[in-house]
């Protein structure tokens, strides 16, 4: 009986927590399906209205920006390219960096690793001017390359992969060597499949990281053609329902990527057992 009470109590707390988090999102969603005059007169709505298609289509296709060159659809495309690029590039580079640090006979590998690790303490904002000037010199302002590359070296992902590689038993490498695997084959046939779960987790993490970038895209793009969704959230003008609709849509890609990749993530976890 006491167990029932404590468990209902903890469930109650969880439910309250969920409500606190979900209700505001729901209110924005519900409000975004009404007309703007309705919201202006009656405030935020709890129930769905009937202007869903009208509002969302308009937001997606509306030519915005100072020069009317950018649509929300294009922003989603830009953000998707940027986030995917950051995710893939950072996972690939950290996989390889960690491999070199753990398996190659590098002098002072540990020191090198800590130097890489320290970059966590140096946020982008601190190096933003030198990084910008490098990109400008390389003529990479206003390009996807310029959006992606400067934020794609991830010390955190390197740390995770390095720690994982260190747990891989030496016998596995030795056994693979005797089976005729060279350095590259060991990496491709062993370390990558073995770290699949972690790769997926890092892809999700880095995708969201890339998607959420605001300051760097703001700086490195002057053309509206390269605006991203998060920039758009700030730049957005127009009626309140359209802004709400855009906010709702901006949440979709990260959620989608988690749903899609989570399958593999969970599969990987179970297979490793």
């Amino acid at each position: 009986m006491t167990r029932f009470i404590t468990s209902s109590f903890s469930h109650l707390i969880l439910l309250i927590g969920i409500l606190i988090m979900v209700v505001p999102v729901w209110m924005i969603f519900a409000s975004s399906t009404h007309t703007s005059s309705m919201i202006n007169m009656n405030g935020l709505q709890m129930f769905l209205g009937d202007s869903f298609y009208e509002n969302y289509l308009r937001v997606l296709l509306y030519q915005g920006g100072f020069f009317k060159e950018i649509t929300a659809l294009k922003m989603f495309f830009n953000s998707f390219i940027m986030a995917t690029g950051v995710a893939i590039l950072s996972v690939v580079t950290s996989l390889m960096a960690a491999y070199a640090l753990v398996y190659y006979r590098i002098k002072h590998a540990t020191l090198l690793f800590w130097i890489i690790f320290i970059t966590i303490l140096v946020p982008l904002e601190l190096r933003i001017f030198p990084t910008y000037s490098v990109m400008a010199e390389l003529n990479l302002v206003n390009s996807y390359f310029g959006l992606i590359v400067p934020i794609s070296a991830s010390a955190i992902a390197t740390l995770f992969f390095r720690q994982f590689y260190k747990t891989v038993p030496d016998e596995l490498l030795e056994s693979a060597k005797l089976d005729g695997a060279n350095t590259w084959r060991f990496f491709v046939d062993f370390l990558i499949p073995l770290s699949k779960t972690m790769i997926v987790a890092m892809l999700i993490f880095m995708f969201v990281f890339g998607y959420n970038q605001y300051l760097w895209p703001l700086l490195v793009t002057t053309s509206e053609q390269y605006w991203t969704v998060v920039m758009g959230l700030k730049m957005m003008s127009g009626s309140i329902v359209h802004r709400f609709a855009f906010v709702m849509m901006s949440m979709v890609p990260p959620i989608l990527i988690i749903i899609v990749l989570q399958k593999h993530f969970i599969k990987g976890v179970f297979q490793d057992k």
């Binding site: 038993p169 016998e171 596995l172 030795e174 056994s175 693979a176 060597k177 005797l178 089976d179 005729g180 695997a181 060279n182 084959r185 046939d189 062993f190 499949p193 073995l194 297979q271 490793d272 057992k273």
Partner: protein
């Protein structure tokens, strides 16, 4: 030159530890060689140098007439079974066996043929689609062996492959390894610290201590004729009894008894070694044993007790004899099977 030739092989680790001292050894084609010794004696290091997993500090290793010193392990055509098997956890059994063949660019049909043959030989055909995590210890052991066999290498290297198995399975796998080696006929080196494994498996045995081969020979030679105190103590179970003594004028005086007409000119302090199984009960025997404890193994009894000067001593007698705790036994050494070692150098003197 024989099939595998080690010449003055030495291993010194970067921290200065000398693991293997100028070891020379030849293994003939098809021979089953066992390296046995206590942990840390350098036996695994020696094996790993043959595999190419450790650099050779000095000396030469020749395999099948080719100098191997600088050859990469992947090019040596050796197969190794590791203590923890080192199976590839993300591949099923089939791919575990096939991986080495794939890397050698063998076509698919031949690989399938070879894998199936090896699986049949080892009775793992039913598990080919399973991952190693779904197999029992004995099955994993077989897969590890299969991975070695399937490639048809020049030499098999076993690095204590049985030590992770339970006692019953270990005996069974020991037999299987021996049978398999005889069937396949591949030159093998087997490293173990278990002297029973060493005795049962080996065609020839190398007893290694502190990075030196103390004695090399067939198991029975080593059992019958240990050349040093270390070998005498290491081979044989229960361990040989050691007593202090003095050898003068072909007469050995140990604690409480004398042996005359010894075939040795050595003079000085010695250690007398007597195996527990080389004793028998008589009246007025040389050795008087006060029994402390009797272990009944069924076929044998192991009788533990003390001599006059409280020295521990063991005697092995047939299981049908009843011996009570506290009894006083009078024992003789059968057929003069005793061993005398120089106490300072440990070398055999009789």
């Amino acid at each position: 030159m024989s099939f595998l030739d080690l010449k003055n092989v030495t291993k010194i680790y970067p921290n200065g530890t000398k693991a293997v001292h100028e070891t020379s050894l030849s293994v003939d084609e098809g021979e089953f060689m066992v390296f046995v010794g206590p942990s840390g004696c350098g036996k695994s290091t020696l094996l790993r140098m043959v595999a190419g997993l450790e650099d050779i500090t000095e000396g030469d290793i020749n395999l099948d007439g080719k100098l191997m010193n600088e050859v990469d392990p992947s090019e040596r055509d050796v197969a190794m079974v590791f203590q923890n098997y080192a199976l590839y956890p993300h591949m099923n059994v089939y791919n575990n066996l096939a991986y080495g063949l794939k890397n050698r660019g063998i076509d698919k049909e031949t690989i399938e043929q070879k894998v199936n043959d090896a699986a049949k030989l080892l009775q793992i055909s039913d598990y080919l689609q399973r991952k190693p995590s779904m197999l029992s210890g004995g099955q994993r052991q077989r897969v590890a062996m299969g991975r070695a066999i399937v490639r048809n290498p020049k030499i098999f290297l076993f690095d204590e492959p049985l030590s992770n198995l339970d006692a019953k399975l270990r005996i069974q796998m020991r037999l299987e390894i021996k049978k398999l080696q005889q069937k396949v006929g591949v030159t093998s080196i087997f490293v173990t610290h278990d002297q029973v494994e060493a005795m049962t498996l080996a065609d020839r045995l190398a007893v290694i201590n502190n990075g030196i081969i103390e004695q090399l020979g067939t198991p029975i030679e080593i059992y019958d004729n240990p050349e040093s105190l270390f070998v005498a103590g290491f081979i044989g179970s229960p361990q040989m009894n050691f007593l202090n003594g003095n050898l003068t004028n072909k007469t050995l005086s140990a604690e409480g008894f004398e042996i005359k007409d010894i075939n040795s000119d050595f003079e000085g302090e010695v250690t007398l070694g007597i195996r527990p199984e080389h004793l028998s009960q008589t009246e007025n025997g040389l050795i008087n044993l006060k029994v402390d404890l009797v272990e009944q193994l069924g076929s044998d009894n192991l009788v533990y007790g003390q001599l006059k000067d409280k020295k521990d001593f063991c005697y092995r007698c047939p299981g049908n004899q009843t011996i009570e705790k506290g009894a006083n036994l009078s024992l003789n050494i059968e057929n003069n099977k005793y061993y005398i070692f120089d106490k300072s150098t440990g070398k055999r003197v009789n």
